[in-house]
Symmetry: D2
Subunit: 130 residues, 4 copies
Amino acid sequence: MESITELRVRYAETDQMGIVHHSNYVIWMELGRSDYLRMLGQSYSEWEALGIRLVVAGLELTYRGPSFYDELIQIRTTLKEATRRKIVFGYRVMRKDALLVEGESRHLVAGTDGKARTLPEELLAWVQKG
Amino acid sequence: MESITELRVRYAETDQMGIVHHSNYVIWMELGRSDYLRMLGQSYSEWEALGIRLVVAGLELTYRGPSFYDELIQIRTTLKEATRRKIVFGYRVMRKDALLVEGESRHLVAGTDGKARTLPEELLAWVQKG
Amino acid sequence: MESITELRVRYAETDQMGIVHHSNYVIWMELGRSDYLRMLGQSYSEWEALGIRLVVAGLELTYRGPSFYDELIQIRTTLKEATRRKIVFGYRVMRKDALLVEGESRHLVAGTDGKARTLPEELLAWVQKG
Amino acid sequence: MESITELRVRYAETDQMGIVHHSNYVIWMELGRSDYLRMLGQSYSEWEALGIRLVVAGLELTYRGPSFYDELIQIRTTLKEATRRKIVFGYRVMRKDALLVEGESRHLVAGTDGKARTLPEELLAWVQKG
């Protein structure tokens, strides 16, 4: 299963090299996993309301090509791993069929205090159904 | 009285026009008022610890010239008005003697719930001493 | 005439007050005017390809209420003034019928060198048809 | 050799979790490598003036702990690898002795057109002296 997030590149996301600044893909990946959860029928804001946080523990990005102002971009998000303590998402940032950036984000399950906790069984089952 | 904030322009702050994107001056003004309060001997994080928020109610910026990557920039901040309900800061963003941007921000005093409240007398006296 | 830009609030756009950081409305206004030009049948990237830049000369924002993570927001953009040297856009940022932020941006027409120039008659007529 | 970049956390860099949003470390790493080059006696803006770009090809970050508004943070940057085609920087983001984030960025040498080129021998020797 894969969620697809579409966005149009913002002017503020470009830099003086004339391309999207590389930090923005990290933000786009976050939009991707937010839409992945929404596609499953729940939003991350509902998780937060339940007192659950997904704390970012690691990021990896490989940049294959630039993107430009005003382009339509797709973020394709998949679930790579989910346990009660850890969730890993994978991302492909595309311009139509061209792969621009590949990435992965690793998250630890935490409470509102930022301390580690375990994901309730029903939420784990729900996220794994993807 | 005036506080001076020095910063070096970040690459990520530029846009494809080759200049600093205009939204960053709003963030720089925030650095300016943060340093203004610190110059008076307290930081805005201490205000937040006291349960006081300065909610942004209005902004005005006039752009006179661009700034560029890697430049040293000064934000000169003054207090224009302070009452128990409202605080107004003024800003001049400078490259040495060249005025790049002039701005003003208006703030309402609020509690942690975002609702209006009044500034304690001692905090008002303290901010007015500037 | 009015263009409508819809967006969903990004997590990265929030701050520790739990609301959208006020600087993001400046970026959203830019999305608004970009869509305004697109609604007229041309995009700002086409203007840039013609060697024309709209340099930001001034901003005014009045904040009436906060917006929150994951909300759907509308930016309603209008043209307030257009001459061969200057263009002024107006903005209303809304959550459904609730007005959150009102704003205005003033722009000067410039060439790729950042120097003032005049807008070609046909482009002026085109932008005024809005 | 190691360069040290000091910064104070900006309010705009926090998110509604009450900590610095994870995307900002990517921007801080960029400040780190910019200062690394400056420590060697040249700035990246001089490289750009010579027609040389360091295109970001990859990023890795491991997050070990959060940082907060108004804190003083250090970015410790080292050169991990430098050839005529590729440069790798390593980063440690610290609060005093506490390691918050470790990271690495991989860069390809390119010209102003974004196409791959080789670093001039004298620039390579210069960056390797670090």
